[in-house]
Symmetry: C2
Subunit: 436 residues, 2 copies
């Protein structure tokens, strides 16, 4: 019996593009058994059609002209894997206008222009799928949109950037400095030459903004996401955290109380025995708290050619099923009906509550702790525990404080006051604490 053929076109033949072709080739027999049809990569467009890749394409498949994909009426699914805002966005819009479904792994684009793209998908009667944009191979987006559809999600806590987690893991295991570990990661190809997106938290922020939209059914204006990276974390902080039963991770978090959402990325101390504390190296994970299933925790490879390519291929298979059934928009882009996506306001970071760790370098004089604790008390911040050790090599003494829950605004103004004290040297280090 002749099997139906679903033609796809892939724009971008870089790491993920090659991984997608690889996954489709490697498991073509399996995919045919599951789908009952053949996924055929009809065209792959890339500006560079000269460089040899490890993946071979049939003659005539590789093209430098994107129109060979966007204007081909036989291609029903366009896979955008070039990343960045433009021309990716224009390509996606043109594809949908031309009656093609879209698969993308482009988190920056979705985080910044998701609403526009989802509106266009609805208008053109096409689907845009993006499982690979968050958590690579881990079926996070599908789980939120479908498996957990009957759950009101209250909180997401994730490790969504493998590079930052690799660095934090190495710093923790070897008590080495951020700069040394970053250099090592760059040597291993785990961190890029310009590592800004990863270590400053922007990549994780793109991902948690997308997940917050899906979890709470609201657009999340990306400029309202609080972002803080890991470059100020020192081995000293990791040591103190460890003394108190915590490890430090770059966390991406989102919460919703029904009225406001909170979306933020920053380093945080988490208890050593939590599931997230066991996510090491370049792995990703997400913990989904909700009002029926309780906690769901999903873990796997957040990057890499074949893992990410396999998630892209999963989306292609789902769209192929829809094409064979002649349906679209089975599940809306955000998992909420288009007219049920409600704009919730994003709480400013100043209004967020958390527990805090402070590390203060102070002169070794009587009354220092009393001055500091007095300022905290005046700001309404109560101390849970204090650790004051001997002098460090610069002559001062480090004072480490763990607070009870407090509001960010109060904490920031208290820190300003503490830094004004003559007995306090330099900046107060602050790390938020995330209990389960």
């Amino acid at each position: 019996m002749d099997k139906k053929i679903i033609n796809i076109g892939i724009i971008g033949f870089g790491v993920v593009g090659a991984g997608t072709v690889h996954a489709l080739q490697k498991n073509s027999d399996l995919i045919m058994r599951r789908l009952g049809a053949i996924i055929k990569v009809k065209k792959v467009a890339d500006l560079d059609i000269e460089t040899e890749r490890s993946i071979s394409l049939d003659a005539g498949v590789l093209t430098s002209n994107v129109d060979d994909i966007l204007n081909d009426p036989e291609i029903s699914i366009v896979v955008e894997l070039i990343g960045g805002i433009e021309p990716a966005k224009s390509f996606i819009l043109r594809a949908m206008k031309n009656g093609k479904h879209v698969v993308t792994a482009n988190k920056a684009l979705l985080a910044v222009h998701g609403t526009e793209l989802f509106d266009a998908a609805k208008r053109f009667g096409q689907d845009i799928m993006f499982e690979a944009s968050v958590g690579g191979a881990i079926p996070i987006i599908r789980s939120i949109k479908e498996g957990l559809a009957a759950n009101r999600i209250t909180e997401l806590v994730g490790i969504l950037n493998g590079t930052a987690n690799f660095i934090m893991t190495s710093m923790t295991n070897d008590r080495r400095s951020f700069n040394k570990v970053l250099k090592e990661a760059q040597g291993l190809g785990i961190a890029e030459t310009d590592p800004t997106l990863d270590i400053e938290g922007w990549d994780a922020a793109h991902k948690i903004a997308i997940l917050a939209s899906l979890a709470f059914g609201t657009p999340v204006p990306f400029e309202n996401v609080y972002v803080e990276g890991i470059k100020n974390i020192s081995p000293e902080d990791i040591e103190y955290a460890s003394n108190f039963g915590y490890c430090i991770k770059l966390l991406a978090m989102a919460g919703c109380d029904g009225k406001n959402v909170e979306v933020r990325v920053h380093p945080a101390m988490i208890p050593y025995d939590s599931m997230l504390a066991n996510v090491n190296g370049s792995f990703n994970a997400l913990s989904i708290h909700n009002n029926a299933a309780d906690e769901i925790f999903l873990y796997g490879r957040g990057a890499g050619a074949l893992p990410t390519g396999s998630a892209v291929a999963g989306d292609i298979i789902e769209l192929a099923r829809q094409i064979m059934l002649n349906i679209e928009n089975r599940v809306p882009s955000l998992g909420f009906q288009h007219d049920s996506v409600i704009s919730l306001s994003v709480k400013p970071m100043e209004q967020v509550y958390s527990k805090y760790y402070f590390r203060i370098n102070a002169d070794d004089k009587p009354g220092v702790l009393s001055s500091i604790s007095g300022l905290l008390s005046m700001a309404g911040i109560s101390i849970e525990s204090v650790l004051q050790k001997g002098r460090n090599n610069k002559g001062g003494v480090p004072i480490v404080l763990f607070t009870h829950e407090a509001m960010e605004k109060d904490v920031r103004s208290a820190i300003l006051e503490i830094e004004k004290l003559k007995v306090v040297n330099g900046h107060v280090r602050l790390i938020r604490i995330m209990e389960d």
Copy 2:
């Protein structure tokens, strides 16, 4: 605008039935926003319509006559939650024959009669969904059938029975005996009065048989699943395991080399730092190894009214989407096209390879270790490490051996020989070791 109403009927108003109604009621507004329709529980059938439940139903919804559901043309989804083989199976077949989709959480029925039910679904053009049958709230089945559709799954390793895992966790934390912890679990309502299904491994076996079918696209005759429970595990074994960096869990495992499948449930030692080792108490988890996404690990509540009910509700929502689109069989029951489900043979346990732990109680005499290691060597089993401690309170000495990989058949015959030695007392304790 009037929303469309999808009428469902639930058979069985026990723990999961009540949990399903609870999830649907508690999150009805959210479900409407996601689905664009109202899920209406039109009828709930239970033999007991007298006992008060914590969940209230509208007047006229509760009935003792299952025909009120099976023969109601307005009901398009039948939810079977009575468990057991009959009458559950007949109800499901009648529902499908009457043009209704089915949701069930009935692992025993699916493990034993899955093929017959999936055939019937295909024949009647209906869908049977069963996310809640394995891993409660965790979206495992959806992930295998859809998110990981482009992955060739090679191995599944799971903790799929919360009662057994609660017992193993308590035994590990407190070094208490199986019988004491079982009694405690029964007092807490975590273990049933007759705990056989859970502690003997049958419940986990039902679940892994279902997952193996889904992962490898093959029927798994349930009688070919190897099943061994936890009641022979002693605090002594847990202590030795701990000395060597392992903890003991009741694992459910399935593997496929393309030709044969392996499906088994037994206690196993796993490295302390593996993700599965951190699954404690009544939580469930599954590690999915495959040839593209690498390892995916899914964790959450495997039981409980609301968690399991939320998974049932997720299936109801997916079927409601299909009804609104007027489609069926979007994804086949096993995730493989009906004509692509291929019968693979299940490897007998005797042919399975594993590393092993033996605990032997021997007389404290010269030459004992030499006799034992001689017998192992003759059987082709090589020893990785040995621990011989002082006399135990019964006068003998415990000898603990860890082997390299060996075939089960060889191990069993070597043990028979070892047990024949005059210096060896009682049975040799054997626990398989599962490295990552």
